[in-house]
């Protein structure tokens, strides 16, 4: 991603963002609310078209006009609250948009035997024991839903996995599970873009960190080059949170 700019009318949401991610790497994208994280990943996943700038994948320039196109070249995005449809079964969710087809005479039907079998197996790999594949997603916990979505993306051949705040609504133990699954995905040689505003979660799995602020990148650092406090302060826009904490405490 080179010099991506995105304008909505007179609002400049992204003002020249450059970003790269390698196979088998977890690249964390950090930023406070309004920094442009969402706009940036939506550009990467084909929802928005960039106003200017270029995107390359394996050296080839990409121009997406729909999320479907991005998916076809192997970019899968898991959105925090849009990952799953809770009224539908796990199997139906897992295969949504990629349903396996079986010929039944002249008719094409969905191959539920295969779909159920694969779903159960993939869930098990992610450490989720399903009671039955046709149980509704609504019965899963938030962490399990994120894991199902990650498993789905990986199963359908994602080369680049974009995770939009997968841990922000989760409890401690569920977060650990999701982070664990991100590490598993990295081992398979898939590039992961991990969007978060929780530095602790980023530090736990990230290889590199990029901080986004007011539509611009503030810089990229490797894991051993930067500390948690520095990242935190960069996200807050250079303000020293620790110092501010003191002043707040002092005034109380």
């Amino acid at each position: 991603m080179k010099n991506i700019e995105k304008h909505f009318g007179s609002v400049i949401a992204l003002n020249g963002v450059s970003f790269d991610v390698y196979p088998g790497e977890v690249h964390c994208l950090l930023g406070d609310n309004g920094a442009g994280k969402s706009t940036f990943i939506k550009t990467m996943s084909g929802v928005h078209k960039p106003s200017s700038g270029q995107m390359f994948m394996d050296g080839v320039e990409m121009k997406f006009s729909s999320p479907r196109q991005a998916m076809e070249v192997g970019i899968a995005t898991v959105y925090q609250d849009l990952a799953m449809i809770s009224l539908m079964s796990v199997t139906r969710n897992f295969w949504m948009g990629n349903e396996p087809i079986k010929k039944f005479g002249p008719f094409k039907v969905m191959d539920f035997d295969k779909a159920n079998q694969v779903t159960m197996a993939e869930m098990k790999k992610m450490g989720i024991n399903l009671r039955e594949p046709d149980q509704a997603v609504g019965t899963l916990s938030g962490g399990e839903r994120q894991s199902v979505a990650i498993a789905r993306a990986v199963y359908f051949g994602a080369k680049l996995l974009i995770l939009d705040e997968p841990t922000s609504a989760l409890g401690v133990r569920q977060t650990a599970n999701v982070l664990d699954n991100i590490a598993k995905v990295r081992k398979q040689g898939i590039g992961v873009v991990f969007i978060t505003h929780n530095v602790r979660h980023a530090m736990a799995v990230g290889d590199r960190f990029t901080v986004l602020n007011r539509g611009k990148t503030l810089g990229t650092a490797k894991k051993d080059e930067i500390s948690m406090e520095e990242l935190q302060n960069m996200m807050a826009g250079g303000l020293d949170l620790a110092a501010r904490n003191d002043s707040i405490l002092g005034s109380v």
Binding site: P67, R68, T77, L82, W95, M110, A136, T139
Partner: protein
């Protein structure tokens, strides 16, 4: 595969999350009730069964369309007006203009499906609730129907379709009956009653299975198969469950909605054509309130008004309940206006029950 956190779920609770359950229970109750109340009134004689079967089949035809559309997250309130509009088109073309009936029928289907597409297009393009868009068409089409029929005939009822349809090849597909030989055989075996007076002495009181019923069964089977067994069915659930999430994984949301509006219009046209062929006439006030009756059938059948969940079989059972109760009250001599009281009551009960079921499925508390 054992996980101590997974509670075993009772089979009762598991059965309850099937959308059809309420409708199955309702249908059983309704039948038991009318067996006791109206068992000797002729309601369950061959003629009586035919009577409520036809009424139920009519409801079922439009309920299948409304069901798939509601699961896809939209409503169509123009169904009733479309029924009268399609009927008037057939009557004007065949009776007034003297076109062959089969052409008139085909034109009606093309116009209806086109109108369904217009409904869908406006909903998709404007992002307005389909409730408002199709409400507009409820009025537009009803007005057009009355205007067209008065313009061409100075009347709001156009008769003579039966005569025009004589010898037509397509008309019997909607207005005819099948298995007449079988029913004659049943009558000869004295299994069903025969006429004892008049011009049809010796013929069975029920001459066969009306094509209306065949259409209803065909549409139910098709709708159920489409929804539960095919890729497109998965898309219908996904679009109604969460259109944004479905779009992000590559489901063609707009195409699915558009096709469902067109299918609903198709069902309305089947209803209209069968009705015109049965009565031999078209009238501008036909199909009144049918859109709401279709929606009630679907809701009794366990579908959620918010989309993403429901069952065609449930909607069909809803139509059966609807038909049996409407005709059953007539057979048991109850004041027929009470039927509406019953409808309103059962509608509220069904919605409350469905909302409760939804909480069980999604694990909300």
């Amino acid at each position: 595969m054992n996980d101590e956190r997974i509670k075993s779920v009772s089979s009762l609770k598991r059965a309850m999350v099937r959308p059809e359950l309420g409708a199955v229970a309702g249908a059983v109750l309704v039948f038991v009730f009318f067996f006791m109340v109206a068992g000797d009134s002729g309601m369950f004689s061959a003629k009586g069964v035919q009577n409520w079967t036809i009424v139920s089949a009519q409801f079922a035809i439009i309920a299948v369309g409304a069901c798939l559309l509601m699961i896809a997250g939209e409503f169509d309130l123009s169904v009733g007006s479309m029924i009268s509009f399609a009927g008037i088109i057939i009557a004007i073309l065949s009776v007034q203009w003297g076109w062959p009936v089969w052409i008139a029928i085909l034109v009606a289907f093309v116009v209806c499906i086109g109108l369904g597409a217009v409904n869908g297009y406006i909903v998709i393009k404007t992002g307005l609730p389909s409730f408002i868009v199709t409400l507009a068409f409820l009025y537009i089409l009803r007005g057009m129907t009355i205007w067209l029929s008065i313009l061409t005939t100075q009347k709001t009822i156009i008769g003579g379709v039966k005569k025009a349809a004589e010898g037509d090849w397509l008309a019997p597909v909607f207005g005819g009956t099948i298995f007449t030989g079988f029913f004659q055989w049943l009558a000869d075996m004295e299994l069903i009653d025969t006429f004892t007076r008049g011009t049809r002495v010796g013929q069975p009181v029920v001459e066969g299975v009306p094509m209306l019923v065949v259409w209803a069964l065909g549409l139910i089977i098709f709708g159920h198969w489409l929804l539960t067994k095919t890729r497109f069915g998965n898309w219908i659930f996904a679009v109604g469950g969460n259109a944004q999430a479905a779009h992000y994984v590559g489901v063609p949301v707009n195409r699915v909605k558009m096709l469902m509006f067109m299918f609903t219009a198709f069902c309305a046209c089947v209803f209209a054509t069968a009705q015109v062929m049965e009565f031999g006439s078209a009238a501008a006030d036909r199909g009144l309130l049918k859109e709401f009756e279709a929606i009630i059938c679907v809701v009794i059948g366990g579908a959620l008004l918010t989309g993403g969940y429901g069952s065609v079989v449930g909607a069909a059972l809803g139509a059966l309940i609807f038909g049996v109760v409407q005709q059953g009250l007539f057979f048991s001599g109850v004041e027929s206006s009470l039927f509406r009281v019953f409808l309103g009551t059962i509608l509220i009960l069904a919605v409350v029950f469905n909302t409760y079921i939804r909480r069980i499925i999604t694990g909300e508390r």
